[in-house]
């Protein structure tokens, strides 16, 4: 479509300002975020800490959404499916078998990946808006299944009463909101680091190349569908891990945790965060969840109305997210200063190869 060319130019320009400064800024920002994240439970009360833990969990699901939506180019509304599968798998395991955190996390990841592997044929052959539609149906059907399958999931009442989790064999159990929050923070941090590292390997590059020019990749002999299937299963594992964390963080799980509104919130958060950015996905999701909670406290009963308004405003104002907006502003300022020396830069031309490559770079 036509607008893509212009966008490629603007964001490519923002990426290529001065990479060294930018990298340093990103690292400093990430360090500050980590310090703030660790300090949170000592700064706020227990209840707020538990809300922060749940927000982090949703942020991790947001990472899996960004992995598919932004990096692989499969926009999804269905990551609540593997999220729910991982959560229920982990809850059942926690009640009957093991309360060791590592075992639960691995189980959650395995169940999420299995869920994704079973639904792979539904998703990877489609593209674009068809994927949105199919994944939405998958997510919704999972919730329906969860509320009907009473013997395992407890129906719409949900499952409660899991014993407290101990992170590793022989360690103390997580018996306070602060401990559960820190556990969540550590796991989310580790998973995010793994995702970032994998995206920097050739595997991540192949995925972004498949997104940017599928035809050329196929012509060069790359099994694009296979790559997408692997990305989908990996995103399922990330979402399943988040499901396991959800059970640990709130010690309760019910179909209401995986509703349509959750999928849509995640997608909104990821879009605000810039779609392909892993850090942006967490920040965007946290922002949207915080706004939702703030609105529902501010105007009880009317939160969905204002939240709907937020969706509409986002769609109009920053279709490329806040990150995209700042990049656009930056490139606008730069193009003005540059236009004094030269006439307008070629912002109306199509993207060339180097610009496309710069655009597909993952912002940490």
């Amino acid at each position: 479509m036509t607008p893509a060319g212009a966008d490629g130019v603007t964001s490519a320009g923002a990426d290529s300002v001065n990479p060294a400064d930018r990298r340093w800024l990103v690292r400093a920002g990430a360090g500050a975020v980590v310090v703030a994240g660790v300090a949170v439970p000592w700064l706020v009360d227990e209840y707020t800490t538990s809300i922060f833990a749940r927000t982090l969990v949703l942020g991790l699901v947001g990472v899996s959404v960004a992995l598919l939506t932004g990096v692989a180019g499969l926009p999804t509304l269905g990551q609540t499916g593997p999220f729910a599968a991982g959560a229920y798998g982990c809850a059942v395991l926690g009640m009957h078998t093991s309360s060791v955190g590592v075992v639960q996390l691995l189980t959650g990841a395995a169940v999420g990946a299995l869920f994704a592997a079973l639904t792979v044929p539904l998703v990877v052959y489609a593209r674009g808006v068809v994927v949105l539609m199919i994944t939405l149906a998958i997510g919704e059907l999972t919730v329906t299944a969860a509320s009907r399958w009473r013997s395992v999931t407890g129906g719409s009442d949900g499952l409660a009463g899991m014993p407290a989790v101990r992170p590793f064999w022989g360690m103390a159990v997580l018996d306070s909101d602060r401990a559960r929050y820190l556990y969540t923070l550590v796991v989310v941090g580790v998973v995010v680091c793994v995702v970032l590292v994998v995206l920097r390997t050739p595997a991540g590059m192949l995925l972004r190349a498949s997104r940017d020019d599928e035809g050329r990749m196929r012509a060069s002999g790359h099994p694009v569908t296979g790559y997408l299937a692997m990305a989908y299963v990996a995103a399922g594992a990330v979402a399943g891990t988040a499901g396991s964390l959800l059970v640990t963080a709130q010690q309760y799980v019910s179909p209401a945790d995986f509703g349509f509104d959750v999928s849509a919130l995640l997608l909104l958060g990821v879009v605000i965060g810039g779609a392909a950015s892993v850090g942006g996905a967490i920040a965007g999701t946290a922002l949207v969840v915080a706004v939702r909670d703030w609105l529902s406290g501010l105007l009880p009963g009317h939160a969905p109305l204002l939240l709907g308004g937020l969706f509409v405003v986002t769609a109009y104002l920053f279709p490329r997210g806040v990150a995209g907006l700042s990049a656009e502003v930056a490139s606008l300022l730069r193009s003005r200063s540059r236009s004094r020396s030269r006439s307008r830069p070629g912002s109306l031309g199509g993207p060339d190869v180097s610009q496309a490559a710069a655009r597909s770079e993952v912002n940490a």
């Binding site: 479509m1 180019g73 674009g128 919704e140 009317h302 769609a315 990150a323």
Partner: protein, 308 residues
Amino acid sequence: MIIQAARWAGPLDAYLIPALDGIAYGLLLFVAASGLVFCFGVANILNLAHGTLYAIGAYTAAAVADGGWATLLLALGVGVVAAAGAGGLLAGLLAPVARRDHLTQALLTFGVALAGGSLLVTAFGPDNLPIKIPAALDGSVAVAGHRYATYRLVFIGVAAVIALLLYLAVTRTRAGMLVRAAVDDADMVACLGVSPARIRLGVLAAAGALAGAAGVLGAPIIGPGPGAADTVLLLSLVVVVLGGLGSVLGTLLAALAVGEIQTLGVALAPTAAPFLLFAAMAAVLAVRARGLPGRLRTGLRLRLRSTA
């Protein structure tokens, strides 16, 4: 003779009523989902507010119909006009982002669904509302030895007529020709001088009218309540995935299949029904191997351009 028929039906007899219910449910889904198929196939919009358009119709039926024929017809008129108007409004909201990617459009329509659902709950309360239908339709009739709700039987007839009219409109009229042409090649239709904005407006208003009609007539089956919009949207999406685009017959068969799964499937295996919908989607997509029909896929080969 009725008794004989019942004996002849033998072990299948117990499932006759759920199967009949499935037809009613399927035809309701057909009327509701065909609007979504048009939005998606013709204007290439994933309208996540489609369920809300249905809910507008259903709430209109609850508010206007008081048990008489006149008010039922009035409710049908008001519901169709209100939902068509809401569809037109949605087209207006979508106009500024028409050239953006589909993610933006999906977010926008979802925002409208969220806000619209909230407004409906504010106006009509958070409970499922009862529907008053004319006394003549409120009873039950004998069908092969079983009692069956008269309204549903009449609904099957009315919905079948709507399906037939829709089929004729798509295959025989100029508007239908335009619809089929836009499904095949929207760019070419635009080149031939038909404004895409006008197509979008027409299609969304028509989709709203269909959803509104489904809402008013189907209110006794999927009643007005906070969950109605979600249910209708989900089942309509499954119908679109199963039935593909651009074929009224495909949509009809898919809707009947989903209706039977939701009624007969629930009667046969209560816990397995949601998995049956999964299985049906998987089977259809596997048979087609490429999801929606190939000629559409080329039109839908959309890249996500929102990456920063």
